[in-house]
Symmetry: C2
Subunit: 74 residues, 2 copies
Amino acid sequence: MADFSFEIEEHYGQLSTNAKGWAKELTKVAWNGRPAKYDIRDWDPDYEKMGKGLTFTHEELKILRDCLNKMDLD
Amino acid sequence: MADFSFEIEEHYGQLSTNAKGWAKELTKVAWNGRPAKYDIRDWDPDYEKMGKGLTFTHEELKILRDCLNKMDLD
């Protein structure tokens, strides 16, 4: 992992936090200097360590939004 | 993985598909007989194989929806 790098460009919102202060969060992250992608994963309070997560394209995130708006979550 | 089991209880929408027919999809899945959780991951066309993914509580999914609705994605 010698060349591993990341930069969080945007923080859109924390979905939850746990007892250790880690937060499941929607962000935009540039991994290894590549163009930033939308991303959902757990982060430690200092944003130095992360859990496994998923990245999303802009189009995927729009479809996800439309999908969630059709669900009866409230 | 001898005792590994899953049942997809709901299909809410495919966010994308790739050339091999795998789909990134929002579903509700009961893992190992436990109560079903919301889930985003890649599935093969027969829903027999899966990629790594994330599970979400009802509350997390509501927050994610609200978060996406505040973003200017269109």
